[in-house]
Symmetry: C2
Subunit: 255 residues, 2 copies
């Protein structure tokens, strides 16, 4: 099931789906595993919808970038069957979306985080793990609140910061010259500013509390940097840049 007829047809043409459904209860008929891949703001309605058609032994998991809000939506929608939902988050973001952006091997060597619930049976969590392992991914577990804090810092804040930087260039008198002369640093810094607006609107709202903490900390840090520049404090700039460079050089993408 999806929201755009064109996208669904493309998915069928590319052999990504066998069958298209336009009714959630109908789509649930005979399903033993449901994978929810949609903007997190759309989750509450979908959990309500699938609850109506869910069969006894059906297991549900998701690809939502935030976990506390998705779990709350699942509890509200699934009620007593909450134990059938194993929350997950594959770390394989890309700025393109839709069936046209589908890639075999997307999850090979990537991390998938599961945030199992107290109500989950160990065998159901293990089944979802095997599903991801079969795609070549490596599964780790986190608590939902720790997950949301970490991803506010390393994913949600950078996305908003990239969107903001690009938006800040638009409409200024020298915007054309700015875009014309921007180089490889700009390209990489702003790659994620081409991400899906609705998906990121939902993430920003869903993870609001942690994200506000991160925005406040980042704005304060940029204020410190501003003061170093204003006071021409070369030693402080040098020390900060060297610390960051060392941490960045020691970091390796976990793959």
């Amino acid at each position: 099931m999806g929201r755009s007829a064109g996208n669904l047809e493309l998915a069928r043409e590319r052999g990504l789906v066998d069958r298209i459904a336009f009714d959630l209860a109908e789509a649930m008929h005979g399903a033993d595993l449901v994978f929810l891949a949609l903007p997190v703001g759309a989750m509450p309605a979908v959990f309500e919808g699938i609850a109506r058609g869910m069969e006894e032994d059906c297991l549900v998991t998701d690809a939502g970038s935030t976990k506390q809000d998705v779990i709350a939506a699942a509890r509200a929608g699934l009620g007593a069957r909450i134990g059938r939902f194993v929350p997950g988050h594959p770390i394989a973001g890309a700025e393109d979306s839709g069936a046209g952006a589908a890639r075999a091997g997307l999850f090979a060597g990537r991390d998938v985080i599961l945030t199992p619930l107290p109500e989950n049976r160990a065998e159901d969590v293990a089944r979802i793990e095997r599903l991801w392992t079969a795609c070549g991914a490596r599964v780790t577990h986190m608590l939902p609140d720790a997950h949301d804090q970490v991803f506010a810092a390393v994913s949600h804040l950078p996305h908003l910061a990239a969107f903001a930087l690009v938006d800040d260039l638009i409409g200024r008198p020298n915007a054309e010259a700015c875009f014309r002369h921007a180089g490889a640093g700009f390209r990489d810094f702003t790659r994620i500013a081409a991400s899906h607006p609705e998906m990121w609107r939902d993430i920003a709202l869903a993870n609001r509390t942690s994200l506000l903490d991160e925005l406040d900390a980042y704005i304060a840090k940029l204020g410190e940097v501003r003061d170093m520049v204003d006071l021409q404090d070369g030693a402080a700039l040098d020390a900060m840049f060297a610390r960051a460079r060392s941490a960045r050089k020691n970091w390796k993408l976990h793959s």
Copy 2:
């Protein structure tokens, strides 16, 4: 000439230089073209040094990321011979530096900005242009102040923002989890945070006025985004993300 003996030896081993000198006046002997590639903060002393050994027909150009301060240093150091200096900026940044990071073909298809001076002879500017064209680069001209404003926006600010984001993660209680779970978005956003601290300290100080304007504008923009998140203004977030995405998708690296 360079500042580190190990780097100079590596440059000789790799065939990047024929001769190493430890005295500027000596290095200038017989030189008909001098290319200054060093942190912009080191330019004033180097212009003074080369002025002492500069021969009559010697032409000087540079690779400095800022132009108004380098031109001021050249005027102070070269005095009446300022017309022999053609200021330049190749847009081919990389986070690695030194002779070990040298790459043939680095400038192929890249932009090089020249900011010629009123004192330059047209034939000297043309000679520097031919030098870059021979490396496969495309040469454009700008005024020094327009150059510094544009690069504050599309290069200097993103570098400081990337350094600041990485530095903001260091030392927090969940820093290890943050670096462990950071993905491809973080990788690209922070690539330039592995850049050379001294080079970027000098750029930040050299382009202080324009960079302060950019930092103020960016901090204000992030404050607006913070308020949208705080007020749960999904429509405003959606509109801003869509604007930025459209601009970023329409942008193509000029190569």
